[in-house]
Symmetry: C2
Subunit: 322 residues, 2 copies
């Protein structure tokens, strides 16, 4: 067993950050010192990933590292904030060099890909638990919140849905091909940071789909005091989802499964073309799946998904998910 | 079992923060939005407390809540930063209302006492683990780092030492009187935030004593490229420590025990009176316990503490502590 300080030194002491990272005193003192961009808001969020609860114990270490950061960065994406910094609280049952090497590689690669500097960490012994705090920046009054949806707005999603739940279902059936598109979706979620920034000034509300489409739509509707009509047939389903699960389970996965980390957003119809143009430049489709109404509730998913509806009615519990 | 959202809503949704808290969008969206003070540095740190590792499972819930925040705030104190915001990643084995109520009360009371706004959280199910990220502010080039100690500087500590280890030893012997001064020291550590701010411009280096005096002194000496002479007889021992542990164990606790969360600092002799005046106004003694030299290593603790020396030689491991 290595001690805490050796672990940190070996895997998590960042290289001296680039000047543009805004780190004026790096890791190694009691705190790290950062230089926020003048005139901006700081967007902050924390998410915890627990082994056996939020990801399978036996998932590839590299994917676990990627995923732990991705789910936190997804919250920045949903605000349209630019990712700047993160801190990691890593609790490990044991120090396994190969696992740590993979975990660190996955975590760092996503840091590099998103311009996020790792600026703090703590490594302790206990049941494997990863808490990641992320910090981003956004101009005042520009952030995409949950409360801005208005009757008449279109309801749209980036990318495709159901891949998270579909990938988990396949994993539980024993599928281990790392290139299977559904496993890729589940194990390597992509925080839609560039899409969130591109939607600033266009979207009226946004949220990332972590609990499931219906549950997260419910959060937007509650915050906005609005309702929605869904077009089930319009839902963009993840590649391979119907083939793997069949029609009905595929629709359930897309509506209620969660872990997709796509953005659900609302916007006036006249901004749709511009939004699609900007996202197309990022290689990301934007699909209209309904519209916002002023009648509370959701129309169009009644014969949908008991599990999904239960989520939507306020019973999501990350802790219940495998 | 309550679900994640009910838990957060009931215990951790803050009241709308005061305008001076700098929270422009409060908890309840994907991120919280903060307004950093223009021209300041942001000081950030994260610490994890694991049940059965960093605190006894059976410790009072209110003390656990206080302690989890205190150990993180102590890092801000050691930089001289003003506490502003915190985020909590709470993983719980089960949702026990009475425990949560106490935990939340202890956490919130320290937030209020230190002017720290709780601006984010995540509650998940798993082995009880509390990760607290803190964010504070300090003027550029003013922060107290570990690397500024110079030969000739005095070495000093705030408050008294050994209470953390002494309190833990008493707890393990079955002492449960919540008013016992050593249990108070162990269960309710006080982050020296006001002291840290008061020492800006006076101290040349500072660190909080979490791993033990010798270990933390080692961090300062390593960062400063210096050595130290310790005066063992000068160590200020916590109230009741010698009575509870005897002379030798009391000295071991003060040198190597950790969990005291006092500040260890260095400063030129001519600033000592001013530093003492400022800390006296906070009700806090400042005791000179040695001086900085240019000879690497520590003189004066040779016949001290095997455990302490082991700490000092680079083997501290929070995970090993009960």
């Amino acid at each position: 067993m290595h001690n805490e300080f050796e672990l940190i030194a070996r895997y998590f002491t960042p290289a001296p950050p680039a000047p543009e990272a805004g780190v004026t005193l790096g890791v190694g003192d009691d705190c790290t010192l950062l230089a926020p961009t003048p005139g901006h808001r700081l967007a902050v969020s924390v998410d915890t990933s627990v082994a056996g609860v939020h990801f399978p114990d036996a998932a590839p270490a590299e994917a676990i590292g990627h995923r732990a950061l991705a789910v936190s960065l997804s919250d920045l994406a949903a605000m349209g904030a630019r990712a700047r910094w993160c801190l990691m609280a890593l609790t490990l049952a044991r120090a396994d060099d190969a696992w740590l090497e993979g975990f660190s590689r996955g975590f760092r690669a996503l840091c590099a890909a998103t311009g996020t500097a790792l600026v703090g960490g703590d490594v302790t012994r206990g049941a494997t638990t990863i808490g990641v705090t992320v910090m981003g920046e956004v101009a005042p009054r520009a952030a995409l919140t949950r409360g801005g949806a208005r009757a008449g707005d279109l309801l749209a999603v980036t990318g495709a849905l159901g891949g998270g739940a579909g990938g988990l279902a396949l994993w539980q059936r024993g599928e281990r091909d790392p290139a299977h598109p559904l496993l890729v979706r589940y194990l390597w979620p992509q925080p839609r940071l560039a899409a969130g920034e591109a939607l600033l000034g266009l979207a009226t509300a946004a949220i990332d789909i972590s609990d499931g489409l219906l549950a997260d739509l419910g959060h937007v509707l509650e915050a906005s005091g609005a309702g929605a009509e869904l077009e089930l047939e319009a839902l963009p389903l993840a590649e391979g989802l119907v083939a793997a699960l069949g029609d009905e389970q595929a629709r359930r996965a897309a509506l209620g499964g969660g872990d997709d980390y796509e953005l659900l957003l609302t916007l006036p119809a006249e901004r749709l073309d511009e939004a699609r143009r900007r996202l197309a430049a990022l290689g990301l489709p934007l699909t209209v799946i309904g519209r916002i109404t002023d009648t509370p509730g959701v129309v169009g998913a009644e014969d949908g998904v008991p599990g999904g509806w239960q989520h939507f009615q306020g019973q999501p519990d990350q802790g219940e998910r495998p």
